[in-house]
Symmetry: C2
Subunit: 456 residues, 2 copies
Amino acid sequence: MSEAIDLYVSQNEARFLEELKELLRIPSISTSPEHKGDTHRAAEYCVDKLAAAGLENIELIETERHPLVYADWLHAPGKPTVLCYGHFDVQPPDPLELWESPPFEPAERNGNLYARGSADDKGQMFSHIKALEALRAVHGKLPVNVKILLEGEEEVGGISVAEYVAKNPEKLKADVALVSDTEMYAPGLPTLNIGLRGLVYMEIEARGPARDLHSGLYGGAAPNAVFGLVELLAKAKDADGHLLIPGIYDDVEPPTAEEKASWEALPFDEAEFLANEVGSTALTGEPGYSVFERTWARPTLEVHGIAGGFTGAGAKTVIPAKAVAKVSIRLVPNQVPEKIVAAVREFVAKNAPKGVSFEVRVLSSGPGLMVNPDHPAIHMAAQAFSEIFGKSTVFTRSGGSIPIVGDFAKHLGIPTILMGFGLPDDGLHSPNEKYCMRNYFDGIRTLAHFFERYGA
Amino acid sequence: MSEAIDLYVSQNEARFLEELKELLRIPSISTSPEHKGDTHRAAEYCVDKLAAAGLENIELIETERHPLVYADWLHAPGKPTVLCYGHFDVQPPDPLELWESPPFEPAERNGNLYARGSADDKGQMFSHIKALEALRAVHGKLPVNVKILLEGEEEVGGISVAEYVAKNPEKLKADVALVSDTEMYAPGLPTLNIGLRGLVYMEIEARGPARDLHSGLYGGAAPNAVFGLVELLAKAKDADGHLLIPGIYDDVEPPTAEEKASWEALPFDEAEFLANEVGSTALTGEPGYSVFERTWARPTLEVHGIAGGFTGAGAKTVIPAKAVAKVSIRLVPNQVPEKIVAAVREFVAKNAPKGVSFEVRVLSSGPGLMVNPDHPAIHMAAQAFSEIFGKSTVFTRSGGSIPIVGDFAKHLGIPTILMGFGLPDDGLHSPNEKYCMRNYFDGIRTLAHFFERYGA
């Protein structure tokens, strides 16, 4: 990295932090209709900062749900074009009572910045803008052509950005996409993510009797919607975490021996993972597979929430008429979401308990994806990462899902560099989400360095 | 029945209805802390009406939860003493949106009075007061000695009344108890209930990871509290409704051949029961047992409500840390609640999925009970019932639970006449609960007639 960039970042760290805090104060919770205005405000804030960084052709694109933001800088003829993506929406903060400081009042503690969205993804997304600002400020221009695409629906399925990418392949044409929405394998260890799981997210609703019934008078004869849902869900997965939905493993492609070996070389302490990250008495999951395989390379099913019947204080003796569960299946590369949805629908139809009917509503779906680690841009990203952090870059996968990566592959035909600066204990989607401030600043340096290398 | 009583009831029907409506307007929801004052108001209203009916020694007895009401009239030396019981608290009205008229604004439609508590139990409890009023007004005195005990905690376990009965056996001494909190087997068919199921009501709470986790990053390795609860509950009952908790059927005493034969003689149309009462596509329950046996003479397990994880609108991809279910087991006569609780605790301990821990909290418990149909008071009650309604009285059981009946047996050594005027479609505990106005008035007549006969 040029020393001038390093100096610029150092001199502007305080301002970079304040600007990020301002963005974090906006509760842009995309799942929540009452925060629709806030998500829009977050988009407007990004527009301002893109303009300040010298980006051009800035658009705030209204959609049926939440807005998109586009910007570009295309004055590096003969140089490659990078499509930078990030999201300015966040997960809901509940359970609120578990936050040590309010989720939308960023607080510095122990070198971390605590706030909802600090790591996922506002902090990382904002690093792109600040890296571009630094390059423009120091060099008067950018070393590559850049297109920026930001969205406000990542946490609710990203429908608008998917549609936008599908409809605008010429406008978004690039050589490679760059996404910072993943984590480093360990503190200080540069990590490029080359595999993501896909996701099918569903609501499964059970209906039993026409109305809530008195459990004394009808218990033993009337179907119970909650118990029917419980019976159905319990049949979907065995005690070992093996999924029992027929066909669910049909297209699963196991990792190569080489990739598995590279995972075994990663530092990993299962007892520490259990105690400090999971915080339970035992891990779960399929026997015969390592934790890496179970979370990165195997499909899994989770119930994210369930509700039905009387759940207030005290006792009410009803046989509930209705119950609903939020259920997702994570997919590994090569699995086809549509086939998984069909398998789930068939499973539900065949396993509905007597007297209980079901409706399966798909809220979002996207495939898993692998990136070719031999792509030249991936190589340069790995080198830039190594040089800033002083260690060799490792290649991992993530068990999470970033649907946009699939859209870039499908509609633009380009690979995505997943260069993330989060840490495993950042608490994404959990109370007390945080982002390491050192990683915020060194992330900006790494990104700027990558742009310099890629344009050289 | 003396014609004078019949006339008095006829002349006062309009007022009797208005007074009941006034009681029904009080939202005395005993499960709900914010309605504590309303439950107290309902008690005060009963005190006023007992005084107006000429009862004496009236007490509003404060407790740690909701008040009791006591009153008596003991000027019939040599005559038997009847202990009348009823409750002025009601179930919560939710789901509110399914009510055709507001639950606490009594509405007359098709000969019925619609309101929460109209049948369970305000309408029936109030019939006792009005029958006593009629007898005093017409004869200047009562034909028997009467003690009245009303409570405001029936829907939340009835702890205070149970303690009161245990501590005051001399004060409450009587020859028989009279409870109107059950239903007639069919419209116009006089019915005495001689068997009740008991109830053990529990909250089962599951704890998985220490905090909600991202399902992408941890799915496949971290335990899920909701799924753990689902797994546990699914193991408690098979698809046929047979309970799988070891020891649960140990003390079950089947009905006699004679009693079973009497049930077979009852008019019953299973298709009609399914379509009009249950409102589902199929009945459930143990094969080889009739609907009567399944709901009256077999233990059953129901999940009344379940909640855990993210249940708002949209999608949130968490592995929930916590989930809770409200679960009850109905008991048949001869089963011991303490043994059932112990069996459940052992079952939960042995079947906890890996990484998920459980807590079982017992909210209430009481045994099932049989009444000897050959008791003279039961005979007279049956005759009074038959004479007012013009049909022979049938003897049934109920699948529901009235814990106080067990307390009267245990502490006072007396049987209870379960003389109820509800109807099977009254919708107890459901939206649009109603009470047939004809049954309200003829219930008053029947009760007065029974007192006259019993004192003759």
